[in-house]
Each structure stands twice: as structure tokens, then as C-alpha cells.
């Protein structure tokens, strides 16, 4: 077991590094997640590992700890409804509004191993007749380089590949390689993946029409959440949309976004000049 003092240090460390808010009930998790890392790093115990972090000598180790403690849990078309909304309404709306520029930029900002971005790619593939001559950019980023490497590779176990994925898509867009399934080249080349910590500046990425930042905010403490939403707002086109996870909301954390009344799980820019965080009665529903 990790000592109380070491666990406290780890909590503070994760909060600073990634905004991850590790509840006190996660002490057992720390052990099971960091054990393999200890072995990899040739350290005898969790105590030694925390000791290294305290000494602050090894940047690589610090990143590895953040990644080991982050949850990468994901699936294709997670929660289904938001993706139906994208296909039926959000994307057609954007297509109509971007008819002049014929440019569309979409960002999966906590992409994990890529299933979310590829789900969007599948939807765009089905809309391809309407996107002829368009410049469509689909970007997937995550703090975990290992997750991003897997996303780029687009290879999934039989268990992973069918989580959320209808069998017709499996047959249409995947080929079997050994016991795994690999996503087709036309989808792999439709998405650009790269590592990115959302707590650091991402202004250089420019402006997006649709941002998916799903099932990350639930792990963040309120101030980090507020700050992240404010920065996402500045990366979203004025008439764009932000898609959060099913149990997440901006309410109580920022005035920069308001819920899209027509699409559950989507948020649009609030009225101009309300960028100040507000604390409403809804606060805590996402925590």
C-alpha cells in the first residue's frame, strides 16, 4: 500500500501536472496503476517512485506517472446520441454555414486511443458526397503519447473494436490482422493524431468548428475545469459547438459556454461578455 503521505504528495503532483483530481478513494488505484511503472523503471517500491518524483529529477518518469494514473477508457460512438446529433444536425448545420469557405475543422481533444476521432471520421466518410471539394481537418490529441501511438496505428483487439461499433462498420472499415483489427487506411489518413497536454497553451492549433472534449473534465478539479473551458472557448469558432461527455456540463464553471438547447451534450458560445465563471445551482453535478 502507498503511505498516506506519499499518496498526498501524488495527489498534489497530479493536480499540478495535469489537473487530474485523484479522490482519496483512489488510493488502491495508485498502487495497481503505478506498480508496473516501478518495475519498468527498475525501482523497488512505490515509495522509491514517489521519492524520485519528490526529488524532481526525472521529467520522463513524471510524465509516465501522469499517464499511468489517467483513465484511457473509451469506445466507439460512446453514448451514441451525440454522434447521431453530429450526423443528423450538427455537421449538416456546419456544412450549410461553411458553404462559402468549404472548410471544416474538428478536434477530438482528449482522444485517448482514437475511437472517438475515428467515430467522427466514419460519420464524415458517410457524408463524403456532400464534402466533395471540401478541406476537412480532423485532429486527435491526448496527453498520453502511448495512447496517441495506438490511435495512429488504429489497431484494436476484438474486445475493443466491437465496443460501440455496429458490425456493419466493422466489416466495412476494418481488416483482421492476427487476432486484432486494423482500421482502414482511408479513415486512418483522415485523422491527424498528436500528443498535447490541454493544460498547456494550445492557441497555435487555431480555431475549430467542432470540439469534442469528452470524459476528461470529470477528472479535473473545479478551477482547472473552469480554466480549460475558457481556453476551449477561445479555440472554438463563434458559431461552433463543444461536445462534452454524457455526465459533464459547463454549468457552474464558465459563462463562456451555454448548453445547446437542441442538442444534449453540446454547448455553444454564451452571449458576448459572459466569459466570467459563474457558480450556479448546478455546480457539482459534473464533479
Amino acid at each position: 500500500m502507498i503511505t498516506a503521505a506519499d499518496f498526498d504528495f501524488l495527489r498534489g503532483f497530479l493536480k499540478d501536472r495535469s489537473g487530474l483530481d485523484l479522490g482519496p478513494e483512489k488510493r488502491y488505484l495508485a498502487r495497481s496503476r503505478l506498480r508496473p511503472l516501478c518495475e519498468d523503471a527498475g525501482l523497488r517500491s512505490l515509495g522509491d517512485l514517489i521519492g524520485k518524483l519528490r526529488a524532481g529529477e526525472d521529467g520522463g518518469l513524471a510524465d509516465a506517472v501522469v499517464v499511468a494514473m489517467a483513465t484511457h477508457e473509451t469506445m466507439f460512438f460512446r453514448d451514441r446520441l451525440p454522434f447521431e446529433a453530429m450526423r443528423d444536425s450538427i455537421l449538416p448545420g456546419l456544412l450549410a454555414r461553411r458553404a462559402a469557405s468549404r472548410r471544416l475543422r474538428i478536434w477530438s481533444a482528449a482522444a485517448s486511443t482514437g475511437q472517438e476521432a475515428y467515430s467522427v471520421a466514419i460519420i464524415l466518410h458517410e457524408m463524403r458526397a456532400r464534402l466533395d471539394g471540401w478541406r476537412v481537418e480532423l485532429l486527435g490529441t491526448d496527453i498520453s503519447p502511448a495512447a496517441i501511438a495506438r490511435a495512429r496505428d488504429g489497431t484494436y483487439s476484438a474486445f475493443e473494436v466491437q465496443r460501440g461499433l455496429p458490425v456493419r462498420y466493422l466489416l466495412e472499415h476494418f481488416t483482421k490482422e492476427g487476432s486484432d483489427w486494423r482500421i482502414a487506411e482511408h479513415l486512418r489518413s483522415a485523422v491527424t493524431f498528436g500528443p498535447l497536454n490541454l493544460l498547456q497553451d494550445f492557441g497555435r492549433l487555431g480555431t475549430f468548428d467542432l470540439i469534442l472534449c469528452r470524459n476528461l473534465a470529470i477528472y479535473l478539479d473545479p478551477p482547472t475545469k473552469s480554466a480549460l473551458f475558457a481556453r476551449l472557448a477561445s479555440a472554438l469558432a463563434r458559431d461552433g459547438a463543444l461536445c462534452l461527455g454524457a455526465s459533464e456540463t459547463v454549468l457552474g464553471y464558465t459563462g463562456a459556454f451555454v448548453p445547446d438547447p437542441d442538442h444534449r451534450g453540446f454547448f455553444v458560445h454564451g452571449p458576448e461578455g459572459t466569459e466570467r465563471p459563474t457558480r450556479s445551482a448546478h455546480m457539482g453535478t459534473a464533479g
Binding site: 469506445m75 451514441r80 458490425v167
Partner: protein, 121 residues
Amino acid sequence: MKHALVVDDSAVIRKVACRIMEGLALRTSEAEDGEQALMACRREMPDVILLDWNMPVMDGHEFLRALRKMPGGKSPKVVFCTTENDVACIARAMHAGADEYVMKPFDRETMTAKLQEVGMI
């Protein structure tokens, strides 16, 4: 309440599948092989059938063929559920008239998505 029939010769798989489906507000019943499953369908046609491929007595394919010939046998949605996961196996199952396909092992999320796909939840 929608009724799901789980057809598998493994009691463990039946139990796991039933628990997941009951958690999704489906009513469940079980059959150990294709023949039992046909009898169950004669008594009461289910809304969805989770169907194993390899079973003694009557396998999934034979069952599916017989089911579709029964009165009312075209209505249930059929989700094949097997350890086979070659493209050819999946294509063959879909060709035989299945509506979805689940590879073992599966979890709640997978089953939920498959049942949504066939309009059960």
C-alpha cells in the same frame, strides 16, 4: 418490456448475458441449444435473440433457418454471439439473416451498443 432469449450451451455465458440485459430493462429467458430455443419461440416469440453459433443438438445456423420459417419468426432481431471472429464467419452469419454480431468476450457497453443498434433499447 422487451423479451430477450439467450441461446448458448454455456451456463456462464447465459448468466452473464442475462444479467447485462436485465440491467438494461429487458426480460430474459434461456435456452441451451437450438432445439430448446425453437420450443421457446413456439411458446412465445421473443423480441431479440442472442444466439451462439456452436451448440450441440442444433447449432445457431440451423436454428436461424428454422426460426425464419416459423410463423412470426421473421420478427425477432437476432444477434449472433460467438468466439469465432474471422471476417468470413461474421459475413456468413450476417448473410444467414442475423441483425448484429457480438464476439465473446463482451461487456455491458458492447451489449448495450448492439441492442441499441437493433432497436431494443
